[in-house]
């Protein structure tokens, strides 16, 4: 009980600290420190409350146990990450993004196709992964290929819809300018519409990063080789090795956030000109 009280005091203290930091000048350090303090406080409270209330390890392990499992199983975690993230998620993401991009260009060129494809596409985007994953595992086998297929299905429509929206997001005047130059379709696409579409395309790409990793992990619940983050999570739950489960979740969160961060970084470089990035 004392530990729980201590946890609450800690929370109050950290919150006060954060308020002071946020009120001060906004240096780069502050921007890093505030969320970090927030996260560390949550971890500390978690540890204290789990210990204080004697929560069974098989329900919720304490962060210290998770950290232990993490450092003890680095090779396994690395192999799982490689299987699920690099082979499954990244491949699927690349294929899905490329395909969505190609279809978006077609749909953009042929209005008829666009008007027909987008509603149907929206409909298919609503298919729950819990249902598509078993089917795709049946079609594409147990290894990473089926996971990549699941990822393709998951990321295809967000990217398609955003790209199509982006390609039409030019002002009439910008298009007219191209017409006064007698520019061809290809020239207009390359010099006007693609650059103008970039903020939208990156919006789709960013949304899709988290979808990709989650899709690959979930698909492994429906059949996999004896490797992979989803495999490890479900197997470890069955074995009541909850510390390992959380270690994998930590890996997923790290990889997912890093993936998101990288895409967001590239976005910042590519769409530096967009008002939302000019500060």
């Amino acid at each position: 009980m004392i530990l729980v009280l201590f946890a609450l005091t800690l929370w109050a203290a950290a919150f006060a600290l954060n308020i002071r930091l946020a009120a001060g000048p906004h240096t780069r350090a502050v921007h890093l420190a505030v969320p970090l303090i927030f996260g560390l406080t949550i971890l500390a409270m978690w540890e204290l409350i789990v210990r204080g209330l004697d929560v069974p390890m098989v329900i919720l392990p304490a962060p210290s146990l998770i950290a232990g499992a993490f450092t003890d199983n680095l090779p396994v975690l690395w192999a799982d990450l490689n299987q699920t993230f690099v082979k499954g998620a990244l491949t699927g993401y690349a294929i899905g993004a490329t395909a969505a991009f190609a279809v978006a260009l077609l749909a953009d060129r042929y209005t008829f196709l666009k008007r027909g494809l987008l509603p149907v596409g929206n409909f298919m985007a609503a298919l729950p992964i819990v249902g598509t994953a078993p089917i795709l595992v049946m079609w594409f086998g147990f290894d990473w290929q089926s996971k990549a297929a699941v990822v393709v299905v998951m990321v295809f429509f967000p990217i398609l819809v955003n790209t199509v929206a982006g390609l039409t997001d030019t002002q009439a005047m910008q298009r007219d300018l191209m017409r006064t130059y007698g520019a061809s379709y290809g020239q207009t696409l390359l010099k006007l519409r693609l650059p103008a579409a970039m903020p939208f395309i990156f919006n789709g790409l960013k949304i899709s990063t988290t979808l990709a990793l989650i899709g690959a992990i979930v698909a492994e619940f429906f059949g996999s080789p004896t490797l992979g983050m989803g495999f490890r999570i479900s197997t470890s739950v069955g074995q009541l090795a909850l510390d390992m489960v959380w270690a994998e979740i930590v890996v997923a969160a790290l990889a997912g956030s890093a993936f998101y961060g990288i895409v967001a970084f590239i976005e910042k470089r590519v769409t530096f000109w967009h008002p939302s990035h000019r500060g």
Binding site: Q174, L177, M178, R179, Y181, A183, P195, W273
Partner: protein, 280 residues
């Protein structure tokens, strides 16, 4: 596509030669009509517009908001298709003229592409028309200097003030040196001083190169100061209510605007405008 299409600079006359002869008609409109179909009925934007613009003329269009100035310019540019009457540009259809890259167009807003630097924006038409690399470089530098923006080539549009952006957009239209310039309120967003400067420079450019100018403005003094011919339009349906030939000399220092001749023309334009308004 022919070779000349790809390399239009090859047959750009460029200089003022041939101006001594009887000037040929660059733009000729006969009974031009344009009706927009909108959800709540047709809008008669241009009605029976007759106009002939000779080579080397500087024609200003003035009239209240919505009278069809922009629409007329867009028709000349082949961006809008008239629903009646005939319109030729350099004896071609406007669409052919557009494809032959016969004109430069300055839109009312600067409309620079934000992902390109100022230099990149001016280079854009040159890239599209397939100018060789060295030529592109030369022309960008030249037009930048012309609009007094040298040193800003590497800056992005949002790093410039509104007036500088407007000048960049004029440079962009000038870069490929078309014989015909269509300008839709190019100086609308500028303050009076900068505007005066640019007016002077535009006049000098016109005088030097003998280009034909179609120029839309809201400002009576600007119209009078610049033009050899002022077209006054009135709205609903948009038509020409008066065409005034300016007796002012080609040489026009800024303070010609305080001269009596100038004030008289301005007065006539204002009266024409008011008459058009009251008729509605």
């Amino acid at each position: 596509m022919t070779d000349t299409d790809l390399h239009p600079w090859k047959n750009t006359p460029g200089g003022p030669e041939g101006r001594g002869a009887a000037p040929p008609s660059v733009v000729r409109a006969d009974g031009l009509n344009l009706t927009f179909q909108t959800n709540d009925g047709p809008v008669h934007a241009l009605k029976e517009v007759d106009l002939s613009v000779a080579k080397g003329e500087f024609v200003s269009f003035i009239g209240p908001s919505g009278c069809g100035k922009t629409t007329f310019l867009r028709c000349v540019a082949g961006l809008e298709t008239p629903t009646g009457g005939t319109l030729t540009v350099n004896d071609m259809s406007p669409d052919e003229a557009r494809r032959a890259r016969a004109y430069g167009y300055v839109f009312q807003a600067a409309g620079l592409y934000p992902w390109r630097t100022i230099g990149g924006n001016i280079r854009l038409p040159l890239e599209i028309m397939g100018f060789p690399a060295a030529e592109k470089k030369r022309r960008v530098a030249e037009t930048l200097k012309l609009v007094d923006l040298d040193g800003f080539e590497k800056k992005f549009p949002w790093q410039l003030s509104g007036g500088m952006q407007q000048r960049a957009s004029i440079a962009r239209a000038l870069s490929f040196d078309a014989d015909l310039l269509l300008m839709d309120e190019p100086f609308g967003a500028l303050d009076e001083i900068v505007r005066d400067r640019l007016n002077e420079e535009l006049l000098a450019l016109w005088d030097r190169t003998g280009k034909t100018m179609l120029f839309v403005t809201h400002s009576i003094p600007e119209a009078v100061y610049l033009s050899t011919k002022i077209v006054v339009m009135s709205p609903r349906p948009g038509r020409i209510s008066d065409v005034i030939d300016s007796p002012l000399p080609r040489e026009r220092p800024l303070d010609i605007r305080d001269s009596r001749e100038f004030i008289e023309i301005a007065h006539r334009v204002r009266e024409g405008l008011r008459a058009g308004m009251d008729a509605v």
